[in-house]
Symmetry: none
């Protein structure tokens, strides 16, 4: 349609398109088997063309991660927008993650897969970015007194570990009821941080 348009935007569009193709391939085959050939063929271009848009494979993978992490964070924040107070926000967070997996499984699978690769020798700042929003909720809860006293980092790691590990299991067990599981996780961590579960009463 816009084939004749020569704008800088075209470049960006193309990058995003390639990233999207990469996400799909990664979600289906895993990072290791997501070769540039595979991605290129999914995008119906040639391997060489990828290098016009990305310096190397790593840069493409980074773009994939940034994209999916960004979208994921956006989705979760949306879900948390209506929740006021740390307890509700924690619940929203824990239910949002499985919901995201339901709505955009490719994104989540790709995010986890790439993150796993990145972990060895990857950017430690990335990890903090994932923990930060959780810890913020926890800290606020302790400040307001709604939450009990517990080591924040340990609790955050438990929460993150629980969510991070979910996509793989869900992929292998398509019968898992993600909504129910999300609620169960919310209950579990609500009781862990507050000592009781209001909503189930």
């Amino acid at each position: 349609m816009f084939l004749t348009v020569r704008s800088a935007g075209r470049d960006e569009e193309r990058r995003e398109y390639l990233v999207q193709c990469a996400i799909e391939v990664i979600a289906e085959l895993g990072v290791k088997r997501a070769s540039l050939s595979e991605i290129a063929s999914r995008a119906a271009i040639t391997k060489g063309a990828i290098f016009y848009h990305f310096t190397n494979r790593k840069e493409l993978l980074d773009a994939v991660f940034t994209t999916v992490a960004g979208r994921g964070a956006g989705f979760i924040q949306e879900r948390m927008a209506g929740a006021s107070g740390p307890t509700a926000r924690l619940r929203a967070y824990l239910e949002a993650f499985p919901a995201a997996l339901l709505i955009a499984p490719n994104d989540i699978h790709a995010m986890i897969a790439v993150a796993a690769e990145h972990e060895l020798g990857g950017d430690p700042a990335l990890e903090e970015m994932a923990l930060a929003p959780i810890e913020e909720i926890l800290r606020e809860g302790q400040r307001t007194g709604e939450f009990l006293d517990f080591p924040i980092r340990s609790m955050a790691l438990a929460i993150r570990g629980t969510t991070e590990t979910l996509p793989g299991y869900a992929a292998r067990h398509p019968d898992l009821d993600l909504t129910a599981h999300g609620r169960a996780l919310a209950d579990l961590f609500e009781r862990a941080v507050t000592g009781t579960v209001a909503h189930n009463g």
Copy 2:
């Protein structure tokens, strides 16, 4: 006969040695980058020699997993031996895992890494094997009434996710106090399953 026995012992020794080298390489570089070259050079032999002791890379990796999973299970069982009752057993389990990471970090790293690869390409039974002991405790706790009512699989997944994810973080944050973290996890899940924490009282 003696010759056979003696040489069988040698052979077994050699296999174990190679497995140990593989564990170290995997713990340091991850499964993907643990090439046979790398492992061979760590063992100060040639690549070809590996094939004298193992049919395949896969067979070596399987041996690695069997070894580390066996040692890990042994260690955790030892730690749980003194604990009676589901509450105590759950605490023992959750404290034992970080302790194992402290004592034999390579084993744990290799175990998680290999398990991740195995699960991608494979054996769903493995996953159940990891969840089974956890779920057994949870079921018993619910039966005796010590534990609240919650979906067992969800709780087990949370526990497993928490532990499975720990080695990576610990590797990137050597300053993490694993003993304290183990206690925190035990507290957290004890409160989640029982509604309160006895030992902190």
Copy 3:
């Protein structure tokens, strides 16, 4: 479009070039020793490049066989074109094979070599394909009464065995007069199938 056509042509050219190189190597060294390294070095490219044009070694070998079998069949059919009647056709066939060996020895050597490997690991249909044209002539000769009564398959196997075995001998005995040998074979089998030899009278 032109670009596609032109490049498809290039691609095909390249494939044919590689096939030709493979034919030469196979003719000289045999299939077993015709490694991709050897073929690549003959083609003055790298091993890796072969995989750009062929999926694997087997595909290259298949292309070799298709090529030489096609050319060989073409040549023999050409020679048989002028011959009418089973007796003349049989003679044409038997003289054409040594002639082909004279004109394109590499082709014939490669064909026999690859066929031998294929048959070991494989395709029984190939064998029937080689026997079919011979048996057709024999059947027709018996139908018209020009040929005596004999078991067709046995006669065909004798003819095929005679030709199949010739390239090896010819390679080791460059002094063999292939034209004369072809005539001798034609005489021999003509007498075998008709009881007499017309042309020698």
Copy 4:
């Protein structure tokens, strides 16, 4: 039985045993896949031990060939012993080969397989050894006038090609009636060399 005997004969026995094992493996798997490992394991010894008895793989293969070719020649000579006159001898020869294939298929398969490997870069004298007895019959037939005039080498090559090619086909077509085929070959070549077939009249 003779385990305690320490004679030079032991060595020879062992060699023969290994050769026999090699024959079986080659007959079953072909020369290429008849690795020393495979042969050793068939012989229930170790690879290393083979090198005590043979300098290298080639020497073992040579011994295999010598053995099977010797036994084959013996068998054929036995069968030809009762035949007097070139016509009868030729018939005996041509019927003996398929008979040998029936009685000792492993020998024949191994012989052909090894010969095929030897052909590229092998001993040319070997080939003459196979042709000599055929040519002797043919020459005698021409001398006595029983046989027509034809180029001896060409006829011998046809006969050898026919027989040499048979084992492979027979292996792929176990339903082939070897006795009938032998008779057919004898008829065919008898007519080719004499112009008629006495025995079928």
